[in-house]
């Protein structure tokens, strides 16, 4: 009976992230449109888009290999697993022992690898340039991400997300300049990974600036739906990581009653909504960067994360 309840709670988490992902994307698009004094599409528009794509014919290029056909499902699966493992409304879920920060980085790396392969598979120029740019961003963002993982792991003494969230939500962490720097670096990495302005613009198909869109340009129908859904899930995943690592208060403890879980879910949704409002505000206040400026942008994230680790060594010793 207890096992069934545990499974159920884990299933709620899995379904929750995938169910709200398009709505979250809709909210960011709506806010962004309002900030630009446009009316914007309805908040629920991404659901209709996905529905439409699911029922359209998938057009394949003549020279597309099996990689091209498998990649969308692989990307969606890897992203979904990662998103389902990050503690969102409760800690200590059934599979939380496997929710390791490094494992999540690796899952996202797998998804990115599949996407870059798929981008190059058909052999068009756009796919190639998109894949090469994506790999450049990855090679800059991942070291920064790993340093952030080290920072959090040094403070908490573990890389397991559930334990970290419990510690930060309840335990005495104190005033830590390292965590502030870590948050700063994490925001930069999240912007780069989610292809948002100033690194990439998800709403444009201008060949000079495309990164993510260039790779998926050839996709259509259900394949495109999978990729779009994975992109929305990735946004939820990064928001959840920000909430779980840096603003965990309100998360439900394991073994709490149903009302606590309901409270946990509503607190989580409110936090997600706050981030979904803040993201377009940040996006509209900066300009898109030139590709050759990316190393400086992501380099500053790397420096901030490295400083965070150093500062921890100063205060703690080796």
């Amino acid at each position: 009976m207890a096992l069934i309840a545990d499974l159920l709670l884990q299933a709620v988490q899995m379904m929750l992230v995938v169910a709200i992902a398009p709505a979250l994307l809709g909210v960011t698009r709506k806010i962004k449109a309002r900030l630009l004094r446009r009316v914007g599409p309805p908040v629920l528009q991404p659901y209709s888009d996905l529905w439409k794509l699911m029922h359209k014919e998938a057009v394949l290029a003549d020279n597309a290999s099996w990689v091209y056909r498998v990649a969308p499902y692989l990307i969606f699966a890897a992203t979904w697993v990662a998103a389902a493992l990050v503690p969102s409304y409760a800690t200590g879920l059934l599979f939380s022992w496997s929710a390791d920060l490094i494992a999540i980085v690796a899952l996202l790396g797998t998804a990115r690898f599949a996407l870059a392969l798929a981008g190059m598979d058909v052999g068009t120029a756009f796919g190639g340039i998109g894949a090469s740019r994506e790999m450049m961003i990855a090679s800059l963002a991942e070291p920064a991400m790993l340093l952030i993982v080290f920072t959090v792991a040094l403070v908490a003494g573990t890389t397991q997300l559930s334990a970290i969230a419990t510690l930060f939500a309840t335990g005495p962490v104190g005033l830590r300049v390292s965590l502030g720097l870590g948050l700063f670096a994490f925001l930069f990495v999240a912007i780069a990974e989610n292809a948002r302005i100033p690194i990439d613009n998800p709403a444009t198909h201008l060949e000079l600036t495309m990164v993510h869109e260039a790779m998926v340009l050839e996709y259509s129908g259900r394949h495109l739906a999978m990729i779009e859904a994975a992109a929305a899930l990735k946004l939820v995943l990064y928001f959840s990581l920000i909430i779980c690592l840096f603003f965990p208060p309100g998360i439900a403890a394991p073994g709490a009653g149903l009302p606590t879980y309901a409270l946990g879910i509503s607190v989580y949704l409110v936090k997600l909504l706050a981030l979904a409002v803040l993201l377009p505000i940040g996006e509209t206040s900066v300009a898109k960067m030139r590709v050759f400026r990316y190393p400086i942008f992501l380099g500053s994230a790397f420096v901030a994360a490295a400083l965070a680790v150093f500062l921890l060594f100063v205060s703690k010793g080796f």
């Binding site: 300049v177 100063v314 080796f318």
Partner: protein, 220 residues
């Protein structure tokens, strides 16, 4: 609650270090001066916190001096200089910003490792000295990597911020020394200012590489 006191000291000194890095990052002279003013304010807060922790009222005077002189007077004067000379544009660096920042990270790691043995005696002192040494080295790095005389002055002043941080971390620095250090910095600043103006008059530039010819290093 001693741990909170430690955390706040850590926060303030750490933010000085972060601002040192921001100084290395800036491309424009006006932005460099703004960051420098911020660093001076962080320094004065840090010194004031040390005054509270160590129960040494004399340090409040140091803090006020840092705030007024380096937080407001020096930045205002520097802004005045760049307006007069009309040099508010991109800074020429000798080496690019990437290698500079990586060198900076290396210097921070070096100063932390150097100050590690102090930790057995006093954790406060180790923290303070490690941060101060890092700020000093980053100030030196800034003076080395910049060609523009005004940004070199900012690097020198930032180096001196590190010195004050080190001095306040160690107990028992007499106020007379503080005041005389502050005045000597002010004098140095005035000398620098005169130097910059004279240089501008003579060479029509504040790029210090123009001076190389007169040292016989370059024959063109």
């Amino acid at each position: 609650m001693p741990s909170l006191m430690f955390d706040i000291a850590h926060l303030l000194a750490g933010s000085m270090l972060v601002l040192s890095f921001l100084l290395l990052y800036q491309d424009r002279i006006a932005a460099v001066i703004n960051v420098f003013a911020l660093q001076a304010i962080a320094l004065s807060l840090s010194v004031a916190w040390q005054a509270l922790v160590q129960d040494a009222p004399a340090l409040f005077v140091t803090s006020a001096l840092a705030l007024i002189v380096k937080g407001f007077v020096v930045p205002t004067a520097l802004r005045h200089i760049i307006r007069r000379l009309e040099i508010d544009r991109e800074i020429e660096q000798i080496i690019g910003s990437g290698p500079t920042i990586l060198t900076g990270l290396g210097l921070v790691a070096l100063s932390i490792l150097l100050m590690q043995p102090v930790g057995e005696v006093n954790v406060y002192a180790r923290e303070d000295l490690a941060f101060a040494l890092a700020v000093i080295l980053l100030g030196l790095l800034m003076m080395i990597t910049r060609r523009n005389a005004v940004t070199q002055v900012v690097g020198f002043m930032s180096l001196e911020n590190g010195l004050i941080l080190a001095a306040t971390g160690a107990k028992g620095m007499p106020l007379v020394v503080e005041v005389s250090v502050a005045f000597s910095i002010l004098i140095a600043f005035i000398v620098f200012g005169v130097f910059v103006f004279r240089m501008r008059e003579r060479f029509d530039t504040v790029d210090v590489s123009a001076l190389d010819r007169f040292r016989g290093e370059r024959t063109d």
